[in-house]
Amino acid sequence: MSEKIKFTIDDKECFAEKGQNVLDAATDNGIFIPALCHIRGVKPAGACRLCNVKIAGRLMTACTTPVESGMEIENDIPEIQDLRLAIIEMLFVEGNHFCPACEKSGNCELQALAYRYQMMVPRFPYEFPVKEIDASCPKLIIDHNRCILCKRCIRSFKDENGKNIFAFKKRGHKLQINIDEKLSANLSDEMAQKAMDICPVGAIIHKGKGFDEPIGTRKYDKVPIGSDIESVV
């Protein structure tokens, strides 16, 4: 039997397995820490910075920080919540996120977080960057306008033969995901849907799918993101 360690989040006593990261440990204790890049079981990347928490007065990404005995973590405090909202707002202005015209609307995690944090309008000016749409793959559309560069697809998606089909190309502000032309040509519909579901936004779209769920029945239409975690404990 593994030994449980004790720590606190916002003064609430929590327990975790040794070696667990703070984000997963919080989830197991019914506390929601937002994240766009994290997938449980996949090596954390610390890419989106939304899971920032305060540990011993310092901001740390919860996904890349192993939990330790006696740790005192601040999560739901105004400073951090505003920081998270600012990151969400930045993601909205530095891409082209036209929610009304997006196939992922209602199931999009970025949008759901904006709802949860009640973003009315970003505090930053809209950038309207010029980005491309890559529809060369027979099963997928890669819309760079919506990509938030979370690396989820790169880190966790493999085709039927276990090969990576996503990778980064270019550097700095030109950085974008790239799809392997040859390997992606053989994707099944099932795998294409899986790739679409991994993407937290609408940057990876399964061709021929979209707008097939009526408004009101989609994932985040009625309940805020994270409420499934909070209702467990």
């Binding site: 009304p100 015209a101 949008q111 709802y115 009315m120 309008v121 970003p122 809209y126 408004i215």
Partner: protein, 183 residues
């Protein structure tokens, strides 16, 4: 005390937000008891005839006339509310923001499949009477100061109603999860 006065306009929008305003259904009777409308497409008053309390702005700014109307609203309204995605972030008209204006005009008047043979003199609209298009579509709050924002495409009728009631009564606005949506 005289009734509060409301003005509304649709800039680069589709009038869907105004439709949603009408979607408050029978409460519209209550609304006209509570307020008076001034410049608005609803009563077809074209110019401000008096100072207003609340201005509702639908749509973003895509041409010089939109900017003119928006500034006129800022001058004549105490409180300005952006309602709908187009007013908040440019919306669908802002899809053209990544395309140079010359290419947009060429496609619309010279090269588009429906116009390619019907404009032999290759005329682009160029008349003082016609508003100039802006280089891109701007959200309203990047042009003038906006006091409140109501997201949605369109904003839910309940959201518009609750926001108006909150402003008129001075009560705090409660925002149930279901009413604030971006689509």
């Amino acid at each position: 005390m005289s009734k509060p006065i409301i003005a509304t306009t649709s800039l680069a929008g589709c009038f869907g937000c105004h439709m949603s305003l009408l979607d408050i259904d029978e409460r519209i009777l209550e609304l006209i008891e509570l307020v008076e409308f001034n410049k608005s497409p609803i009563d077809d008053i074209k110019e401000f005839t008096k100072q207003c309390d609340i201005g509702l702005i639908e749509g973003g700014c895509c041409n010089s006339e939109n900017v003119h109307v928006l500034k006129d609203f800022r001058k004549n309204c105490k409180i300005l509310i952006s309602f709908g995605e187009c007013a908040l972030m440019g919306g669908l008209p802002a899809f053209r923001n990544g395309i140079p204006i010359k290419e947009c005009l060429d496609e619309a008047y010279l090269n588009g499949p429906t116009v390619v043979n019907s404009n032999p003199d290759k005329i682009l609209p160029n008349d003082d009477e016609i508003p100039m298009m802006l280089d891109k579509v701007y959200p309203c709050h990047e042009v003038v100061k906006i006091d409140y924002f109501l997201p949605g495409c369109p904003p839910r009728a309940d959201l518009i109603w609750d926001a108006l009631v909150a402003i008129l009564t001075g009560n705090e606005l409660k925002l149930p999860y279901e009413v604030v949506k971006f689509d």
